[in-house]
Amino acid sequence: MSSEAPQTPAIEDPQIGLKLIPEQASEYAQQVDFLYYALLGISGLLMGILAALVVVFAVRYRRSLRRERGELIAERSGRRLEIGFALLLCLSFIGLFYWGSQLYLHLYSATDADVTIDAVGKQWMWKFQHPDGTREINTLHLPVGETVALRITSQDVIHSLSLPAFRLKRDAVPGMYTRAQFTPTRAGTYRLFCAEYCGTDHARMRGKVVVLERADYQQWLAGKVDVPDRAEAGAQLFQSLGCGACHKADGSGLAPALQGVFGSRVKLADGSEVVADEAYIRDSIVEPQAQLVAGYQPVMPSFSGQVSEEEILQLISYIQSLGQSREADEQ
């Protein structure tokens, strides 16, 4: 069980008042709101028809009127009414389904982003890590207009990064990377929540997203004490852990050279091929033998437990910085 009771940082809620429809802080948020209004309209219409029918029938056919009963709907036309109604519903549902899944794919399928931010959920705080190494807890500063890709994982239980203003939510699952990307279009302070129940202080695991104009963002960056950027931190780790001993740049070591390996197709010992993306590199660090590269001996020790999630992400950024291979550029 969780050993010591981890302390939870203080909460800084953005004071933005009750917004029944959260601000549309990105163009995607507007699209989701159109879908919401469309569904509200359809539901309102159907509820209206239902309520009207029930009230009219209740008033016109109440028993106390003692009126002579009219003819009931014939079996055949009744069946046609049912089937017609069902088909009408199916058609509108297929439309709504298509609309919803298009937006869903736009949000989650990986596209190249201007800046990749790592979000690591930990019992009861969110830790963000910018490419330049800046780290924040429960607060995320972003520039307007740049496409932000979130690389989300968790160190302990399942959390869920929820940004209502961007209509975005993604679970942080331990042992797995989940992705989402969005493009802030309006400066401002927005809410940030943990949506998946994760223990005692689940309710305190929240904060704010601060979207700044480009100039203010640079100023905010400058204000930060200069901390080695993520790739440099990765390089330092690469040396301190002694990876360089086998992964020699010229490939003469016991292990494959890592120059330009990110994004390339790697031939494995069991004959299959896999793209060396973040998940492959992470697995190779934590579980080296599972996807052994063809032509090499399974001698790499596992580092699982010795390097934290942030450090693995730093190593990945370092390997990325060793040059993207040609295939990755075409994707």
Binding site: D270, V286, E287, P288, Q289, A290, L292, P298, V299, P301, S302, S304, G305
Partner: protein, 229 residues
């Protein structure tokens, strides 16, 4: 099992809520089959977990399967299939109202079942001795060709395999014990032979349960023992 309240007469009278014996027999069989449906889905969730984890960790699972004793398991499977035969013959003898044959075949079935559990126990004990039983935090030492000896992640995934192996075979063993309990009751009834038609009906239902245990073991044997590297 619906007990009937008939007197000494050959064909016993149906229970109060049934109109005739045919309805009661049909209800008994349908009831048993629906119960077997729930048991099938109980094991189904275990097989679904196996399918998912086998797909995610193919190499290590295949290699871990190599550490199981295939010959013992093959003998066990043959034993269980034979106990299916002896159970069927017991049912047929009860149908033909042959008291001694019914008792004989029932005893054979129970003997085969007990032997199966004994061999299974021995198999578990040998796995315990090879430190391949990660139950209750026992030391788990897994040697794998895939990695240098004592490697943590391959050993971790192998531990996952053995966890699932012990869950599946343990659940099956529990069902075997319940089956043996039912057979013991049927044996006692068969010895007294007070109402042969009732014994015939209940033995058919007990036979369904025993044959179901065979079916589950066939798939456990295939999934855990045969899918080797």
């Amino acid at each position: 099992m619906p007990t009937s309240n008939s007197g000494r007469s050959g064909e016993s009278r149906p229970e109060v809520q049934f109109d005739d014996m045919e309805q009661q027999r049909h209800a008994g069989l349908l009831g048993m089959w629906v119960f077997l449906l729930t048991e099938l889905l109980l094991f189904g969730a275990i097989f679904a977990s196996f399918a998912i984890l086998r797909v995610r960790h193919g190499a290590v699972f295949a290699e871990a399967a190599g550490h199981l004793d295939l010959s013992l398991a093959a003998v066990n499977t043959a034993l269980l299939l034979s106990s299916g035969l002896t159970m069927a013959l017991a049912e047929l003898s009860a149908g033909a109202r042959l008291r001694r044959a019914t008792i004989g075949w029932l005893q054979a079935t129970m003997a085969l079942g007990a032997l199966f559990l004994a061999i299974k126990g021995f198999e578990w004990y040998s796995e315990f001795r090879h430190q391949l039983m990660p139950v209750l935090g026992l030391p788990f030492h897994y040697s794998s060709a895939l990695a240098a000896p004592g490697e943590q992640p391959v050993a971790a995934v192998a531990e996952l395999f053995f966890n699932l192996y012990f869950i599946a075979t343990g659940l099956h063993a529990v069902h075997m014990l319940v089956g043996l309990g039912i057979l013991a009751v049927m044996l006692a009834l068969a010895r007294r032979w007070r109402r042969p038609d009732r014994i015939d009906r209940q033995l058919r239902i007990a036979g369904l349960y025993w044959a179901f245990i065979d079916v589950v073991w066939i798939f456990i044997f295939t999934c855990f023992y045969l899918l080797r590297a």
